[in-house]
């Protein structure tokens, strides 16, 4: 067992190895290393984790003044990163990050309606995503390069997953030196 070094009084918490799990993945002969993410100074409840493609950032939903709010953390430093557009329009749910974490997509609340919102952390812009027919998303997932988003919506009482092309509004967020297959092409 290794200690967690938490910086009390701030939202920062450096993360070190906490537990080494029991023997697992016997086929490979390796054991996964388990770390627990501290919730900050008040040990906040954390839900709906979403890792960036490169594994460096973690988004979770935590309670802030009683309202579920997305929080973004740098896993190397433990620092909580500022989000320009996501301190309101709660409750937040279903966060999703692109490869380098440039884009954070989350479902927000505007009045009585749910709305998907993408924050571009590089430019500071917010991109609200309105679906045709004013359908309300309940879950979402961003592709690693942020060219495509999948949204779970209800259509005639049934859950459906709909894909949208974001190529017209977002620059791709690709991993350095890695080749991706081409974007999905919309069909007429």
């Amino acid at each position: 067992m290794w200690p967690i070094h938490a910086v009390r009084g701030t939202a920062l918490a450096a993360i070190t190895c906490l537990n080494v799990s029991a023997a697992l993945l016997a086929l490979t002969g390796c054991t996964p290393r388990v770390e627990r993410i501290p919730g900050g100074e008040v040990e906040r409840s954390q839900q709906e984790p979403a890792l960036s493609g490169n594994g460096r950032l973690l988004a979770t939903v935590t309670e802030r003044r009683g309202r579920p709010t997305v929080q973004l953390r740098d896993l190397r430093s433990g620092a909580v990163l500022p989000l320009r557009h996501l301190s309101r329009h709660q409750p937040h749910s279903s966060p999703s990050l692109s490869w380098n974490g440039r884009y954070l997509a989350v479902i927000t609340q505007r009045g009585q309606r749910r709305l998907a919102l993408i924050e571009d952390r590089l430019t500071g812009r917010a991109h609200p995503i309105r679906l045709p027919g004013d359908r309300e998303p309940v879950r979402l997932s961003l592709s690693p390069d942020a060219r495509t988003m999948a949204l779970q919506v209800a259509v005639q009482g049934r859950w459906r997953v709909e894909l949208i092309d974001l190529g017209a509004i977002l620059e791709p967020d690709r991993s350095a030196g890695e080749r991706f297959s081409g974007p999905l092409q919309p069909t007429p």
């Binding site: 537990n19 799990s21 029991a22 697992l24 993945l25 086929l27 490979t28 996964p32 290393r33 388990v34 770390e35 627990r36 993410i37 919730g39 040990e43 409840s45 954390q46 839900q47 984790p49 890792l51 960036s52 493609g53 490169n54 594994g55 973690l58 896993l75 490869w99 609200p128 995503i129 309105r130 679906l131 045709p132 879950r139 979402l140 997932s141 961003l142 592709s143 690693p144 495509t148 988003m149 999948a150 779970q152 259509v155 049934r158 859950w159 459906r160 997953v161 709909e162 894909l163 949208i164 092309d165 190529g167 017209a168 509004i169 991993s175 991706f180 297959s181 999905l184 919309p186 069909t187």
Partner: protein
């Protein structure tokens, strides 16, 4: 001059506000209608780079389905050993290349965190230490790191698990 700039500012503000109506997104209509036709319901999407994992149901039975989208057509790919009839999938996540899938499933009284490696068709259980009940899962792009929401002592926590 001051009036002009004030007017310009107001106009800019109005334009900015009206711009909040939503950006121009393009639904992938053909893919979407084929996805809708291929299952009675579909939920919990997780996107890789050209891969869609989701929970789809047919005949009332829900299963984890992995779909190859790379050619602009939804092509389900075989995932032998991933689904079992007596288990209820709860949460899922796919790696960027579609090779690894993380799954939380309910099997009898037990809620399990599982990792599936497609190229070898092997499903393995990942033990939580300290013990807890997993709920929501997320894999990173390379499938080498996993974040999982765990209930412990009446509180939700997030564990990070490094995978070989």
């Amino acid at each position: 001059m001051k009036t002009t700039s004030s007017l310009g500012g107001s106009l800019l503000l109005i334009l900015t506000l009206s711009g909040c109506g939503g950006d121009s997104i393009r639904p992938l209509h053909s893919l979407n209608s084929r996805l809708a036709d291929s299952a009675e319901t579909r939920r919990d999407p997780s996107l890789g780079q050209g891969w869609l994992a989701s929970l789809s149901s047919r005949g009332g039975r829900e299963r984890l389905e992995l779909i190859d989208l790379r050619n602009g057509q939804p092509v389900p790919v075989p995932v032998p050993g991933l689904n079992r009839a007596d288990a209820q999938p709860i949460s899922l996540s796919v790696s960027g290349d579609g090779e690894r899938l993380a799954l939380v499933r309910q099997l009898g009284d037990s809620t399990e965190l599982m990792l599936y490696r497609r190229s070898v068709g092997i499903l393995q259980r990942l033990e939580l230490n300290p013990a807890g009940v997993p709920r929501a899962v997320s894999l990173d792009g390379r499938g080498r790191q996993l974040a999982v929401q765990v209930s412990r002592n009446g509180r939700w926590e997030v564990d990070l698990i490094q995978l070989p």
